[in-house]
Amino acid sequence: MHVVMAIAELARILNTAPGTIERWIRQGRMPVRKKGDLCEFSRSALEKWADTNHMRLTVDLPGGKTPVESPMDSLRDAMERGGVIYDVQGHDVSEVLGSAVSRMDCIEGLENKNRVLQSLMDREEMMSTGIGKGVAVPHPRTPLPDMGIPALISPCFLEAPIDFNALDRQPVFVLFVLMAPSAKHHLHLLARLSFCLRNDDFITFLRGRPGREVFFAFMDEFEDGMLSGK
């Protein structure tokens, strides 16, 4: 099949500079004819030539090395997926984590819940996820991509504050259980959350144990402000 296209286009397909293509044509090393800015060739001859010279013809790929990733979620979407849980019971770390996981609807099946719980406990053992100011961010020790759980955050307000071995030794009153299918998602959500938690107003808001609508409305506003401020 006879093809006519711009040299720049051919260069893109062969992943080389247009100058290189022009030089190869001039030196007679390519089965292509030049006509001004355009070049003319037979498709089969060019494919054969590229194959002989170990060159790949990139037709679609714009050049990225990873396939298109799912876009990063906002905190609000992640929290909506996780769902806010109130009055989580328990006297110590393992009890509250257990109650929280059992009440999280986003994790289906007893087997899955046990697996998640185990991973959360493993992580706690490495180091407490109590980051101070009464907040903890329990998350699995390593991302669990094969469970089919999307990125989510589950804000869980405890019935009563407990000692979480937090960095600042303060008792923890709210858990943000964070699940992510990959390290990138995890870091993204954690970074956003950490930004929110730096703000003392947010902490005060949380201590008031706001209802769902209020909570999400606040999150929307806060996140918009965060993004525009950035």
Binding site: K65, H188, L190, A191, F195
Partner: protein, 578 residues
């Protein structure tokens, strides 16, 4: 002192004072020796074949004579498999492979194993040629003489070339053909250093042949009267001959495939079946058996009086017989059958043009037979120079050099359109082992992954906190960090700074993120013994510029395109020097 004495020992002539700085004289002397020995080996095969031909002649009258080639082929395959313990490879590709991948190393037993096996195959009537086995013997002789004298790879390849040149020169009494064949096909490059010893070896081989057999030309011919019209006709013949070459190549390939797929017999069983089929053809067309030199002589001298139809049949029959012999496990080369098929093709062409234009006074059939031979040989080997010089020397026919050049060139070009490479190189190309000198494949083949390994990466444990990791990043020079297991030290994955750059300044994350959570465990790794060409292909496919090298689950280093470029350039420069 003892070491001084060792240096001067006869086993290390390369270190003698005389040869110390310039080994050219050494190679010339050894080349002559190799040429003589290779020439003797070629002579031995020739005489063996002549004897066997004579021996079996008496038995050809019997009805069961078709079993003789079967028995011969089976014995030959058995011998190779059980006694010589060699693989059933083709001779010339193996020699070329040895030159390009193993620095010319060949086993000592290759010096005689193929001689014996091809003697059995061809002597019993199989349609194959003694040239390829003789080339392999000569090459092995040269290679092992080099080993005895502890020469390096470059010198060994030269002596291997001397062996092949001496062998071809001896078997055809054709020194130029020996030289040209070696340079064109075996070594692949004209290098000043190689040409003189190889030429000397070719002369030595030819001398050996003349000493024992007298200075005879293989196929003397009558003087041909060649006009312009004949030269024009040769163009048509070249196309004819190219068609025959392509047909032969395809038939050989097809025959080989069929033998492997259809028949569930051991190797010697298949060889027997192939041989039996050849024997049956031979019952009706005895000209098809053996290497066929006597048939060629008859044709060239103009004594072959058969009709057009029979000759056409003979062309196809010989192609079939050769494919059955070689494709089904017999041992031998394709050279001599090419000459025979070429003669038949030329003769056929002559008959055709005489029938179509009877008023024109064409040259004799023998002339077209010569041209046909040149066309076939050039076409199948895609080595026009070898074809030209060989025909000139075996027929003493320098007077027909003009049409000869034409036919050889045209046949090569036409064949090249259908078959991408010489019959000898095809096997190697399919396996990806074809590495002519100074090509990308050859340069990369010589560089190993270990040579381009970069070991300045800082390895980090999986349990490290992000905060501590940031301190490591501060003092490193790289963007990639290998992560290992705390307990076992095994490689787990890589951390790419690009992926985490936007998060590493958050103090909260410093305290809550551990490296194992941000390690990319699905990263592609390279084995230190991997082929560099494969590694580069993988890098290209995934658009990576560097990859980790992991041996037995332990991180060894990184391999990157940037360092490779440096080494590649230097390697190419070193390889390209004469």
């Amino acid at each position: 002192m003892k070491s001084e004495k060792n240096q001067q020992s006869w086993r290390y002539p390369a270190r003698w004072q005389f040869f110390r700085f310039d080994d050219r004289l050494l190679l010339i002397v050894l080349g002559a020796v190799v040429g003589i020995v290779a020439g003797l080996a070629a002579l031995a095969l020739n005489m063996g074949l002549a004897a066997l031909l004579h021996f079996f002649q008496a038995w050809r009258a019997f009805w069961w004579s078709w079993l003789i080639p079967a028995g011969g082929a089976a014995l030959s395959a058995l011998f190779l498999l059980k006694i010589a313990k060699e693989e059933q490879g083709h001779c010339v590709p193996e020699v070329v492979d040895s030159v390009s991948r193993y620095g010319g190393r060949m086993r000592l037993r290759s010096s005689f194993s193929r001689l014996i096996s091809s003697c059995l195959t061809i002597g019993s009537g199989g349609s194959a040629g003694p040239e390829a086995p003789v080339v392999m013997s000569g090459a092995a002789i040269g290679s092992n003489i080099a080993r005895v004298f502890s020469l390096n790879d470059r010198q060994r390849v030269s002596l291997l070339g001397c062996g092949t040149a001496g062998a071809i020169a001896s078997i055809f009494n054709a020194p130029i053909a020996g030289l040209v064949f070696t340079i064109e096909v075996i070594i692949g490059e004209w290098s000043a250093r190689n040409i003189v010893p190889i030429a000397v070896a070719a002369v030595a081989g030819a001398q050996v042949s003349r000493f024992f057999r007298g200075d005879q030309i293989a196929f003397t011919h009558l003087q041909f009267s060649v006009d312009l019209i004949d030269i024009l006709a040769c163009l048509g013949l070249a196309v004819f001959a190219a068609a025959a070459s392509v047909l032969l190549t395809r038939a050989l390939r097809y025959s080989h495939q069929v033998s492997h797929r259809v028949v569930r017999l051991p190797l010697w069983g298949r060889a027997a079946v192939g041989g039996a089929a050849v024997g049956v053809i031979g019952l009706f067309l005895p000209d098809v058996l053996g290497e066929g030199y006597h048939v060629i002589a008859e044709i060239v001298e103009g004594a072959f009086m058969k009709g057009l139809g029979l000759i056409a049949l003979l062309v196809f029959a010989k192609i079939a017989a050769t494919s059955l012999t070689l494709g089904w496990g017999g041992s031998g080369g394709v050279f001599a059958p090419c000459l025979v098929i070429g003669s038949f093709t030329g003769l056929l062409y002559h008959h055709i043009i005489t029938a179509v234009w009877p008023s024109v006074s064409w040259a004799q059939g023998g002339f077209f037979a010569l041209m046909g031979m040149a066309g076939l040989v050039s076409g199948i080997l895609q080595a026009p120079l070898t074809g030209i010089f060989l025909i000139v020397e075996i027929t003493g026919g320098y007077d027909v050099i003009l049409p000869l050049i034409l036919v050889a060139a045209v046949a090569t070009s036409v064949c090249n359109a259908f078959e991408p490479a010489s019959y000898y190189y095809r096997d190697l190309m399919e396996k990806g082992h074809y590495r002519p000198p100074r090509t990308d494949a050859r340069v990369l083949a010589d560089i190993s992954v270990r040579e381009v390994l970069e070991t300045d990466c800082i390895v980090v444990p999986q349990s490290m906190k992000l905060g501590d990791f940031v301190a490591i990043v501060q003092k490193s020079h790289r963007n990639f960090f290998p992560v290992v297991d705390d307990a076992t030290g095994e490689f787990l994955g890589m951390i790419h700074l690009d992926d985490i750059r936007e998060y590493i300044f958050d103090p909260l994350l410093h305290e809550t993120v551990f490296l194992e959570q941000i390690t990319d465990t699905g990263v592609e790794t390279v084995d230190p013994d991997a082929d560099l060409t494969d590694v580069l292909d993988r890098m290209d496919a995934q658009r990576l510029f560097s990859m980790p090298v992991v041996a037995e689950k332990r991180f060894v280093g990184m391999i990157s395109k940037a360092t490779l470029l440096d080494k590649y350039r230097r390697e190419l420069m070193v390889q390209a020097q004469i």
